[in-house]
């Protein structure tokens, strides 16, 4: 397949073939990186990280990926230190940075900010998260983690737990998974169910969907994807405490899982996966975070037209 995408804005724009291509190339990249530690594929190129919102994992893994490819990194990590405070528009900010860099990764709370950025510059733009809309590189590393474990995504049963209403990670992941032959089990409190739009889209595409409030529904799943339930989603703090305590993956839940099942989490976690799970053979969340390096390194090369 010839790669033709210049920008990485939304997972919804990816065909299944394009996703599979990224995952295959990420595997090649991972091997290259472990064999050589540092490559020179991006030598002489500069990556600009424009993080108007705080981020640790996404920003640092992009930075690490670029450095492992032999490139340089510039940027900022909070809107407080940027020109946005002075009233500069995103459109102006990216046009300025275009003069300094070869690729832009942008995170901004405004939904659609990465698409806007891509319309004003001629260098590639990668979406590092735009409000509660999209986080495509997270989705690709999630899929990479699943594929690495099971060799394929088709045929798997995937349970997604936690805040399914507001979590952009789970929306992007669901958008991508509907391109595969999978069964999905959504576990959440009733007030944080998956948006109806996504449920009806899944049904139209013939994806098997089960929605439940009970963690026991996860026992037949191959993948358990856990997300954090955020306090600010609940007007009543007591209700939050009750819900938070109900959706905890601990050893009693883990005992009932399939022996080959893996547990994933986009991190940071608070208390939704108890620390005792970390030592079990099911835990994959730290590996998942590490997979951000080969996947993001692959994307940096692909948008720059560099063959892997």
């Amino acid at each position: 397949m010839e790669w033709s995408k210049k920008h990485i804005i939304s997972i919804r724009e990816f065909t299944r073939e394009e996703i599979d291509f990224v995952l295959e190339k990420s595997e090649v990249m991972e091997k290259k990186l472990s064999a050589e530690k540092k490559l020179d594929l991006m030598k002489g190129k500069i990556l600009a990280l424009m993080f108007f919102e705080p981020s640790t994992r996404t920003r640092m893994s992009f930075e690490a990926a670029m450095k492992k490819l032999g490139g340089e990194v510039i940027g900022f990590g909070s809107s407080e230190i940027t020109s946005e405070q002075k009233g500069e528009t995103i459109a102006d900010a990216v046009r300025v940075i275009e003069g300094y860099a070869d690729i832009i990764v942008i995170r901004h709370s405004a939904e659609g900010s990465a698409r806007l950025a891509s319309e004003f510059v001629s260098i590639p733009v990668i979406n590092g998260g735009d409000g509660s809309n999209q986080h495509p590189t997270q989705t690709l590393l999630d899929l990479y983690t699943i594929k690495k474990e099971f060799k394929q995504i088709d045929g798997l049963s995937i349970g997604i737990v936690g805040d399914l209403k507001y979590g952009r990670t789970v929306h992007s992941l669901t958008d991508a998974l509907m391109k595969y032959d999978v069964k999905l089990v959504f576990v959440s409190p009733p007030e944080l169910r998956m948006p109806r739009r996504l449920i009806s889209e899944l049904k139209e595409k013939g994806v098997g969907v089960k929605e439940t409030t009970k963690l026991s529904a996860l026992k037949g799943c191959d993948v358990i994807y856990v997300t954090r339930i955020q306090r600010e989603r609940f007007p009543d703090p007591q209700e939050y405490e009750r819900v938070k305590g109900t959706y905890v993956i601990d050893s009693t839940i883990v005992e009932k899982l399939k022996p080959e099942a893996i547990i994933m989490h986009p991190l940071p976690r608070v208390s939704e996966i108890s620390p005792e799970v970390d030592k079990t053979p099911h835990a994959r969340y730290f590996q998942q975070a590490k997979n951000g390096i080969p996947v993001r390194a692959t994307l940096l090369c692909l948008v720059s037209g560099i063959k892997i």
Partner: protein
């Protein structure tokens, strides 16, 4: 409401436009799109909730000495997707057109998502919605990717 056997009496206009098959209750929105308010001088006929064979109930708007441009027709298509526009000259229909939603609606709808970048002050972009047709018409914002139904549109730009 008009009964099936009662003739619908709306005075014909000499020159202008007649917009028929407007979804019942949507005529005031059509008037707003046409910019018709208390300062409008020519004659306007408005019928609301009248009997229709096709739609059961419909609204009709007739405006003397008025034409429509493409943008206005696109706006009418959003609030009244079944509307038919008749251009009248000397009491005769000289052109008839059913409104059609374009594939892309540009600079017409304000995205109802307050966090959408298209609502951010001073950004030099305009709203764009893609029209998705399944059973019902759904619109998807180019920027925040949120999908909305016609009934969720609060503000036209």
């Amino acid at each position: 409401m008009y009964k099936r056997d009662e003739p619908l009496k709306i005075r014909n206009i000499k020159n202008g436009i007649s917009i028929d098959h407007i979804d019942a209750g949507k005529a005031p929105q059509v008037l707003r799109i046409l910019g018709i308010d208390e300062n409008f001088k020519d004659s306007v006929t408005l019928a609301m909730n009248v009997f229709s064979h096709k739609m059961k109930k419909k609204d009709i708007v007739k405006v003397e000495n008025r034409d429509l441009d493409v943008e206005e027709i696109n706006k009418i298509a959003i609030v009244a997707p079944n509307a038919t526009i008749n251009w009248i000259k000397d009491f005769k229909v000289v052109r008839k057109e059913k409104v059609k939603l374009p594939k892309e609606i540009v600079s017409i709808i304000k995205c109802p998502n307050p966090s959408c970048v298209s609502n951010k002050e001073r950004e030099p972009i305009t709203s764009v919605f893609y029209v998705k047709r399944n059973k019902n018409v759904r619109l998807v914002c180019k920027y925040c990717e949120r999908e909305i139904g016609i009934d969720e549109i609060k503000d036209l730009l």
